[in-house]
Amino acid sequence: MNAAASPAPAPQPLLYLDGVSVVFDGFKALNSLSLIVDPGELRAIIGPNGAGKTTMMDVITGKTRPTEGVVRFRDHDLTRLDEATIANLGIGRKFQKPTMFDALTVFENLELALKAPRGPVACLRWVLGGGDRARIAQTLEEVGLTARAHDRAGVLSHGQQQWLEIGMLLMQDPELLLVDEPVAGMTDQETEHTAALLVRIAGQRSVVVVEHDLEFVRALGSKVTVLCEGALLSEGSIDHVQNDPRVIEVYLGR
């Protein structure tokens, strides 16, 4: 056998969706969608409202069961697992509307997200170690919330809540981050900072970003997937999809 002659084996995709459909009362929220995300890849997903972006995230994280289709994460069939199990496999999600625990402080929010045994007894016996403290401090630094560490999450501004959500995602140490509209409500400067942060995270982890802001998507410099009416419309670089007549017709041209 000549090793050089045989094609290099394709890396096993981290996330693999094939022919996924979700039907709500006859409405096809996803229509035979297929998507492959490789380890370490950064991927932007755009599409008009109702294109199925959030439904796709719901399917991956176990919130919604697909009517048909294959959803795999490494070797795990995600269609059979619940939200908590999927999260523990290494899939973290940031929701479109920031949801954190308002009654707890920023620090406590991060502590809850920190990767650690999740059972009730383990939580009762939990003692925050020096290493954990350092990791939380590092994440606070990364998302610019060090000064707010001991404020209640409920009093943060919208942009800061977005940051806290991203911070919580990092604490989970996931292999795959699903990030839904991370820069909504952020200033231009914050948006730039977020793009840089996501680019830095990708590489060690895979990141899937859903976003409306095309400038932000351009700043990510990643492969872009365009969804429309629950199906894949176009895929490629940002320039490629921006010049795709089908994309212009349904989305950009409006």
Partner: protein, 349 residues
């Protein structure tokens, strides 16, 4: 900090009551038997309030059926007290309690076996409420039944148990329940000595419950529970098995309520199916709401203050009590969302 001092002071003051009761009657410091027995009863209510607060105030599980766990604990100890009567019943049967003789039972039903032993009865006072909470909680939490639906289910649970315990053929004394208890642990009931012992046992249970609840609510588990209360689905996406956490706290809460009931019954000398009445459970929830849910001291404050009001009002104007209770609940909800404790502590920033 001052709150903790006040709490410690209040507990010490309570602990003094049975001592003051032994003072000569003409002394200015003398405390009547009534005060001791009523306070002993309220202490068990305070444990019930803590149990409800742990589930509701922290984990957001609003059970309107906690009176059932309290009553089951009471029935467990009641069965023991009935067995201890032995041949001293009206009918003088060597084994069977009076009501069984009256209803024509030939022998003790199997589920009465073992209740002649005190440790077994106490074990059952914890295990029966705990197992019931485990089964009901598992079915409800696994199916993600929350909020008002869970409240209705727990309310139905206590109502169903009340109807069941009213039936004579259940073997729990029907609508008369158990009474005429003679002794417990070799000590004749209804004596100053027994009153003091039961009083201090209740106080010890209260302090231990308070300690346990405080350890839980200060731990990461406490923060997970608060997170579940405020954004349950978000907690799932962080990888926590919410069903497990809710079950843990619900079962623990039911066990505490059962123990409270087990100390309540020997003090009041009677247990009957009326203890399962839905109104009792709702009243206990109102104690917590009035005192301030989500703070342990608030639950205690609510249990004592609402029951003080009840004891006073049902003496001077018994017909007004339910209106007062309802009015209190509405007033607290509208004007004191953090309960009475909110008057003394600053709102979190």
């Amino acid at each position: 900090m001052t709150l903790r001092l006040v709490l410690a002071g209040a507990i010490l003051l309570l602990a003094l009551l049975p001592v003051l009761n032994r003072m000569p009657a003409e002394s200015a410091l003398h405390v009547s038997d009534f005060v001791v027995s009523v306070s002993g009863k309220w202490i068990t209510y305070a444990v019930l309030a803590l149990a409800i607060d742990l589930a509701w105030g922290y984990a957001g599980i609003l059970s309107l059926g906690h009176g059932a766990f309290f009553a089951l604990g009471g029935y467990a100890i009641g069965m023991h007290l009935m067995r201890l009567i032995g041949p001293r019943g009206v009918y003088g049967h060597p084994v069977l309690p009076d009501f069984m003789v009256f209803l024509g039972y030939q022998k003790l039903p199997w589920y009465w076996l073992g209740f002649d032993h005190f440790p077994f009865a106490i074990l059952m006072a914890m295990a029966v409420p705990g197992l019931l909470a485990l089964v009901v909680g598992y079915l409800a939490f696994r199916s993600r039944i929350t909020g008002v639906y869970l409240s209705i289910i727990t309310q139905a649970l206590t109502y169903a148990l009340m109807l069941a315990f009213f039936r004579n053929d259940m073997g729990f004394g029907g609508n008369n329940g158990f009474t005429d208890f003679k002794e417990l642990l070799g000590m004749p009931l209804n004596t100053p000595n027994a009153r003091s012992v039961l009083f201090y046992a209740s106080l010890v249970l209260l302090v231990l419950s308070l300690w346990l609840c405080s350890v839980i609510t200060r731990s990461k588990l406490g923060r997970v529970l608060v997170a579940i209360r405020d954004a349950e689905s978000r907690v799932r996406f962080l990888g926590y098995d919410v069903t497990q956490h809710k079950l843990f706290v619900f079962v623990l809460s039911a066990v505490l309520a059962g123990l409270a009931g087990a100390l309540y019954v020997p003090q009041v000398g009677i247990i009957n199916p009326g203890e399962f009445s839905p109104g009792n459970s709702i009243e206990a929830v109102i104690w917590v709401a009035v005192g301030g849910r989500g703070t342990l001291v608030g639950a205690l404050l609510g249990a004592f203050s609402v029951n003080a009001l009840k004891t006073w009002l049902t003496t001077v104007a018994p017909d007004l009590w339910l209106f007062a209770l309802g009015g209190l609940f509405v007033a607290v909800t509208l004007f004191l969302p953090r309960g009475l404790i909110g008057l003394f502590t600053k709102a979190p920033k």
